[in-house]
Each structure stands twice: as structure tokens, then as C-alpha cells.
């Protein structure tokens, strides 16, 4: 049966890759390149919309070795792929990277989803690319899309609970294949429909609607959206700071910020990351050594103590296995089980059981090998269909341990159902605590920040910015991110699974007692803060419009007073303020507040405001509090017609 699934997966993957590789001209696509100013009639073809919708489905699906959550689900990667589909991977990556920043601190645990970065990424990039929106505008539209996506998630979580009952019915009949099937077929069919249809419609019709809506807005309002796009990244960064900006690693955030600003934005994030690794090593040697960790004993003593405590408490472990076991699991069984879990852990994710049906699915090869009577099979299926949830990579140690216990039980060891359940329910929580901290709070944001930095960014810093036209995006950012995160996540998952099987609780104790995890987290804290600080400097854009008179001439307030003292001070101030505010306010509320402030700040209180989107006159610029692209009084660098929001010259406000 696995072969059939394999064919399906390969087919889907090939289809996506092939479509992305085929030049869009062959698909009669619309030109996504050089954009004329003024309203443009953009056409996303049926094929392209279908591929984009399929991509969004895949981002939530089990088919990509369970890695979709770390790859296609992220706007950085979604942007790159949408770019490939629409014919401009570089711009797509740029937009995806921009949209990703507010979602940097995204965490989904225990069936909770604050917003849907995948929807924001796939649909947002489509709307932006097809509508020729610039990255800041795309960012402010994207957060609303994120909320829409979470509705789809909620729907699926509720409906999948019903499918869990179908799996129960199969278990009652001791139908192993049936339980496996119920874990993916109904849930994924539903998910396909409920994901594909909205995104397909959005992709096909959305760009035109968004264009029309934007065209109806007065110019200052579209500026407001762009301003918002410059300050919303502060929320994403501050959300991430909630995880890592604490204790002895705090200074590294500021160092990263200063490094980027002082180098005028010329220091690549890869270089900063490399520096971060070196600093992490030094920090661990000099600073962390003084902060005593939990591991008082050395690693060796820790392992010894682990073995002792395990012998004292638990039953069957490796020793028994050698002594004439009648039924033995093969390595193939273990690998198959691991693969099934890695693919299908969330295939039927639902509020009632969370990963419960996925766990049962993963156990099917094990049950098939170990149990022969209908009663045994029924009992085994039912006990593994219960509520279960852990982090699906580091948490694999639970699965390995449980598999070993089942093997012993099948061979006659005195292990009752209660002990197996106790291990599952006792361990799944703590392993999730550690696992989520590792993968979602530490690993993913750091690698994403790196990828986003490589992907390119806004024309920023305090050098004379070019209006609208940003630096070209670099698809390498998305690719580097995908490769790194995939390798590391799979390595963690595989190791935890196999070690859990061969050493069980001793492995858990060993890892926990050795303090290895704490050291990794501290090192990641150094690296993460450094990269995050640099990213903050790069992506947060605040330009004051007002001027003051200096020696008789009108000079931009920010350029003449703030920048000479501390360039980037406003951006830094904003992110620190955001971090402080997030302690008191819900992120969603803050998003809305910032959006409102941005639009207000664009309102031309002091003058007539810009007559059109290409009105860069001094008078137009200084009529509001903030400006989206540059500090007024400094003329923009001469460029061709910018790819700024394609708004028609509209009426005065």
C-alpha cells in the first residue's frame, strides 16, 4: 500500500516541480516583469491559479515527508514557489520574505493556530505579484489573509474529529488497514477541497479586485498601507523576541542591529550568522560556564545515573530483547513506522484526539508484526487511537519507547496497557515542551531569518533609498532555508525515534541530564538574537516626514537630527516599544493598532498631499507625519517608473 502512496506523492511533487520549471510563457501566462505605471490588467491563468491552490493544499498536507509545515507553509518558501509559477521567482521570493517577517514568531502547538502564514504567503504573494504591489503593501494586506486561513484550519480540526470516530469503528473490527486509511483519506480529501477552492478563486479573481480596491483609495491611503508594511515587521520580530530575548543573550540583539546599520546594510546576513556562531561558542565558554546549568554531573555520570534510575523504575529494556524473543520487529518495521508517523502525524489532526489517529496509523506495521489474534489487534488499535499530542520530531522518543514496550509485551513480558498509556501520557507533554522550544521557537525562526536576509529586502538603511523599486529578491534565500531546516528536522526525528527504541527512558534521561539541550538553546539564543537584530534593522522602515529649519534651510527632521546621532534609532525604538507592548497586548490587537496608526500617519494633515503615486514633490511628502519610502527633502534616486502601488492619479483627499 505504501507503494501506491509513494506513486501519488511522487506524481504530485513532479507535477508541481515541472510546472514551476516550465517557462510561464508556455502556459500563456501574464507578464509579471516590467510594470508600466497606471492600472494594469493582470491575468492569472487557470493553470497558474490551480497550481497555486494545489501548493496551498500541499503546505498543510502530509505528502512532503512531514516537512511541509516547515517549508511550503512558510511565506518565504511560498513566495518563491508562487514566483516560479507566475514567472518571476526573484520578485516572488522578495515578497514572500517580506510577508514572512510579521509571522516570524509564529508558533502552533497543541491544536492551536493563531493565524495562517501559509494562506498569507500563497495568496498574498499571488495578489502582490499579479497586482504589482510592492513588498510593504503586500505585508499589510497579508495579515488579514492570515486570519482567513485560520478559519480553514478551525473547520478542518472540527470535521476531522468525525473521521476519528470512523477510525474507531475500524479498530472495533480489528481492521488494521482500515484504521490507517481513516487517518488520511477522509481528512485529506476534505482538506483538499476546503483549501483548494478558496485559494483557486482568490488567485484567479483576487488580483483584479485588490487592484480595483486600491485604485479607489486616495493616494495617501495607499501610502498608509506601505507605511504599515514598514512597521508591521516590528511585531513579527518582537514576537520572536518573546522566545529568545532574555537573560545573558540580550546584548546580541543590539549588536546585530548595530552591525547591520553601521555597515549601511552591506553586511550580508550569512556573514552575520557566521559571526553569530563564533560568538555563541565564545559565549558558552565564558559566560554560560558561570551560569550553572542543571547538569551538575558530567555527561558520563549522567548516563550512568540514567541507566540506574531506569532499571529501578521500569520494566523490560534492551537486555530482555536478546533472551530468546519469539516475535521480533525488523528494522524495516521500525523504518516504516517512522515514515508513516513522519508523513501522517497530522493527516487527521482534530480537536478531539489531536495526533491520536496519526499515532495509531504509525503503529500499524508494528501491530501487524506483533499481534495475530483479532482480540489482540483490536486492543492494540484501540489503545493507540487515544488522545495524543507531542512535537513530531524530538517527541519521537515516545514512539520509540512505546514500540519497544509493545515488542516486549508481545513476547510475554508483564507490561499492561496502563503502563504503556502512562508512558505516553507522562512523556508526551514534556517532550513537546522541549521539542517545540527547539524546533518552533529556536530552529525555525533563526533559519527563516537567515533565509529572509539572503532573499533580499527593502531598500533600506539610511542611505538615500530608491523609491518603490526594491533590490531584486534572491531565490537562494528560500532554497537555503528549505535545505537546512529539512536536514536538521529529519535528523532530529530519526535519531529520537531510533534512540527511543533502543534505549528508551535512558535516552531521555541522558539528553535531559547532560544539559546538552540547554547549551544548544543558549547558543541558539546568541545566534538568533544577532540575526534577529540585523533583520530588525533591515526590515523595519520608519521615515519621518516633518522638517525643521536648520540654518535657514528646511531640513528633514530625521535626516538632520536623528540620523547623524544614531541611524536606525527610530526602527530600534519601534521594535523595543513593540516588545514591551506585547507583554500587555494581544498581537492581533497590536496589529490593528499599528495599521490604524500607519494610515493616520499618512493622512496629509499639513498640506495637500501627493497628487499621484509618482508625486515626489517636497510639498506632497511633508504633508503627513510619516512617509513610506524615504525621508523627505532627500530626493529619491533616479529610477525608471517604480513598481510601487499601481494607483491611478486620483483625486485629492
Amino acid at each position: 500500500m505504501l507503494r501506491k502512496y509513494g506513486a501519488l506523492v511522487t506524481g504530485l511533487a513532479l507535477a508541481l516541480v515541472a510546472a514551476a520549471a516550465v517557462p510561464s510563457a508556455a502556459l500563456a501566462a501574464s507578464p509579471a516583469a516590467a510594470a508600466p505605471a497606471g492600472p494594469v490588467h493582470i491575468n492569472v491563468t487557470l493553470w497558474q491559479a490551480a497550481l497555486i491552490a494545489l501548493g496551498y493544499y500541499l503546505a498543510n498536507s502530509p505528502w512532503l515527508f512531514g516537512l511541509a509545515f516547515f517549508t511550503l507553509y512558510r511565506p518565504l518558501v511560498a513566495g518563491f514557489l508562487v514566483g516560479c509559477i507566475l514567472g518571476d521567482p526573484a520578485q516572488g521570493t522578495l515578497i514572500g520574505a517580506a510577508i514572512n517577517v510579521p509571522f516570524l514568531g509564529f508558533l502552533s502547538a497543541g491544536g492551536n493556530l493563531p493565524a495562517d502564514p501559509a494562506f498569507a504567503g500563497w495568496v498574498g504573494t499571488t495578489l502582490a505579484l499579479a497586482g504589482h504591489l510592492d513588498p510593504p503593501t503586500a505585508v499589510s494586506i497579508a495579515f488579514g489573509l492570515g486570519l482567513l486561513g485560520s478559519l480553514i484550519f478551525y473547520l478542518r480540526m472540527v470535521v476531522d474529529s468525525g473521521f476519528a470516530h470512523w477510525a474507531d469503528a475500524r479498530a472495533e473490527k480489528a481492521d488494521i488497514s482500515g484504521v490507517a486509511l481513516m487517518n488520511w483519506l477522509p481528512g485529506q480529501s476534505f482538506l483538499l477541497v476546503v483549501s483548494f477552492v478558496p485559494v483557486f478563486l482568490f488567485a484567479l479573481n483576487g488580483p483584479q479586485y485588490v487592484q480595483d480596491a486600491l485604485n479607489r483609495l486616495p493616494v495617501w491611503a495607499t501610502n498608509g498601507l506601505a507605511i504599515a508594511g514598514g512597521i508591521l515587521p516590528a511585531i513579527g520580530i518582537a514576537l520572536n523576541m518573546r522566545f529568545i530575548f532574555r537573560g545573558s543573550v540580550i546584548p546580541y540583539f543590539f549588536i546585530g542591529f548595530i552591525l547591520w546599520t553601521a555597515s549601511g546594510g552591506s553586511m550580508s546576513l550569512v556573514v552575520i550568522a557566521a559571526l553569530g556562531l563564533a560568538l555563541a561558542y565564545l559565549h558558552l565558554s565564558f559566560v554560560h560556564g558561570i551560569d550553572h546549568s542543571k547538569a551538575e554531573t558530567s555527561e558520563a555520570a549522567g548516563a550512568e545515573a540514567a541507566e540506574r534510575s531506569v532499571e529501578a523504575t521500569s520494566s523490560a529494556e534492551p537486555a530482555d530483547r536478546e533472551a530468546g524473543s519469539r516475535i521480533r520487529l525488523t528494522r524495516g518495521d521500525l523504518l516504516r513506522s517512522w515514515a508513516l508517523w513522519t508523513f501522517f502525524a497530522h493527516a487527521n489532526y482534530n480537536f478531539e484526539r489531536l495526533q491520536g489517529t496519526g499515532f495509531a496509523h504509525a503503529m500499524t506495521p508494528i501491530i501487524r508484526r506483533l499481534y495475530t489474534t483479532e482480540d489482540e489487534i483490536r486492543a492494540a488499535l484501540k489503545r493507540h487511537l487515544v488522545f495524543f499530542n507531542t512535537e513530531p520530531n524530538f517527541g519521537n522518543v515516545v514512539h520509540g519507547t512505546v514500540i519497544a514496550m509493545e515488542e516486549h509485551r508481545a513476547n510475554g513480558a508483564a507490561i499492561d496497557e496502563d503502563s504503556i498509556n502512562a508512558v505516553k501520557s507522562g512523556l508526551m507533554g514534556p517532550m513537546a515542551g522541549i521539542g517545540d522550544t527547539l524546533s518552533q521557537s529556536t530552529l525555525t525562526p533563526i533559519l527563516l531569518a537567515l533565509g529572509i536576509g539572503i532573499a533580499g529586502g527593502t531598500a533600506g538603511g539610511t542611505a538615500v533609498p530608491t523609491v518603490g523599486a526594491s533590490a531584486t529578491g534572491n531565490p537562494l534565500g528560500a532554497i537555503v532555508y528549505v535545505v537546512l531546516i529539512s536536514v536538521i528536522i529529519v535528523a532530529i526525528g530519526y535519531t529520537a525515534w531510533m534512540q527511543g527504541y533502543s534505549r528508551g527512558r535512558a535516552f531521555v534521561m541522558d539528553v535531559l541530564r547532560s544539559g546538552r539541550i540547554d547549551r544548544v538553546l543558549v547558543g541558539a539564543g546568541v545566534l538568533g538574537n544577532l540575526v534577529l537584530g540585523a533583520l530588525a534593522a533591515k526590515t523595519i522602515q520608519v521615515f519621518l516626514a516633518p522638517t525643521i529649519s536648520v540654518a535657514g534651510a528646511q531640513m528633514n527632521l530625521q535626516a538632520s537630527v536623528v540620523d547623524p546621532v544614531f541611524p536606525g534609532a527610530l526602527a530600534l525604538g519601534l521594535v523595543m516599544l513593540t516588545w514591551w507592548l506585547l507583554k500587555r497586548l494581544n498581537p492581533l490587537k497590536l496589529l490593528v493598532i499599528y495599521l490604524a496608526i500607519a494610515i493616520l500617519a499618512a493622512y496629509p494633515f499639513f498640506g495637500p498631499g501627493p497628487a499621484s503615486s509618482s508625486d515626489y514633490s517636497y510639498q506632497a511628502c511633508t504633508s503627513s507625519l510619516l512617509h513610506p519610502y524615504y525621508a523627505c527633502g532627500i530626493p529619491p534616486a533616479p529610477t525608471a517608473a517604480p513598481t510601487a502601488p499601481a494607483a491611478t492619479p486620483s483625486s485629492q483627499p
Partner: protein, 160 residues
């Protein structure tokens, strides 16, 4: 002591608690009250080590836990209390621990259990225990992650 959070979660310490709540509350100590975990040496150690560095974790049975929490009441330390079920929290309350609010963070489903909201399901016994807590003056709320708005138990109680 400010009992920053008294949370019922059948998985005790896990992703949302560590990565979410701890940071949001700035709690300095975690006290886990659970008879089964207190008796199991392995589980006790895993729970103790699962919290991030710098946050001490204590695992105690109901009797010891009540005494400990009442003792901690005098200190200004900010404490997070975790329990697996309403029965434990009710026992603590009856023993005199000042619990103003109890948060239902995670209660898994199963046969005979009824889903109230997202990942919160209850058995008939637990419903009874939660209502008793409310009668004793403790506010019962559902708040799965810190960013959620708390939902009063009264609005999801099937009796209402």
C-alpha cells in the same frame, strides 16, 4: 506569592506552556501538583528537567502541594501551578490554597467525554468538580494560549 496561573492541562508541561505561557507570565517557579507523577521517580525527573533553564520545577502530591502553595503564599515570587485535572485543583482549594482563577488549558477527549471548546473535553465527574469550584468562589475560564481571550466556563457549561 502571586499565583500567576493555575492551569489544568492533562499533559502538564508542554509546548504551549513552555514556549508560550512561561514567557508571557514571567513566572519564576513552576509547581506541579499530581499524585501519580509525584510517586513516579522517572516522571518526576523528566518534568523537573523539561522546563527551561532558570525556572525551578517542583512536583508534589496533593497533600504536600497544598501545604507548599500555602507556604509560598507569603513570598512575592511569581508561581505557575499545573495540575492534570479538576479534582486536584478542587482538593487544593478545599485545603485552603487561595485560587482566584483556574484556567482550563488542555483536557483531552475520550469515551464518555464531551467536548466543550476546541481541545477542552470533560467527563461528567469533571463537570461536577468544576461547578463546585465555581461555587467556592474560584473563577473557571478557558484560555488555551496566553494570546487568547479567556472564555468563562459558564458560557460553555452544557447546563446553561
Amino acid at each position: 506569592m502571586s499565583l500567576r496561573l493555575v492551569r489544568i492541562d492533562d499533559r502538564l508541561i508542554h509546548g504551549q506552556v513552555v514556549a508560550g505561557w512561561l514567557r508571557a507570565l514571567g513566572a519564576e517557579r513552576i509547581v506541579i501538583v499530581d499524585d501519580a507523577s509525584a510517586r513516579d521517580e522517572f516522571l518526576r525527573e523528566v518534568l523537573t528537567l523539561a522546563a527551561p533553564q532558570g525556572v525551578p520545577v517542583e512536583v508534589a502530591g496533593v497533600a504536600d502541594g497544598a501545604a507548599r502553595l500555602i507556604a509560598l503564599a507569603g513570598t512575592p515570587e511569581s508561581v505557575m501551578v499545573l495540575a492534570r485535572n479538576p479534582r486536584t485543583v478542587l482538593a487544593l482549594r478545599v485545603a485552603g490554597v487561595p485560587i482566584e482563577v483556574v484556567d482550563l488549558g488542555g483536557m483531552g477527549s475520550g469515551p464518555g467525554r464531551r467536548r466543550l471548546h476546541k481541545t477542552i473535553s470533560v467527563s461528567p465527574d469533571e463537570l461536577r468538580e468544576l461547578r463546585e469550584l465555581e461555587q467556592l468562589g474560584t473563577r473557571v475560564e478557558i484560555q488555551i494560549v496566553a494570546d487568547d481571550r479567556p472564555i468563562p466556563f459558564g458560557s460553555v457549561d452544557p447546563r446553561n
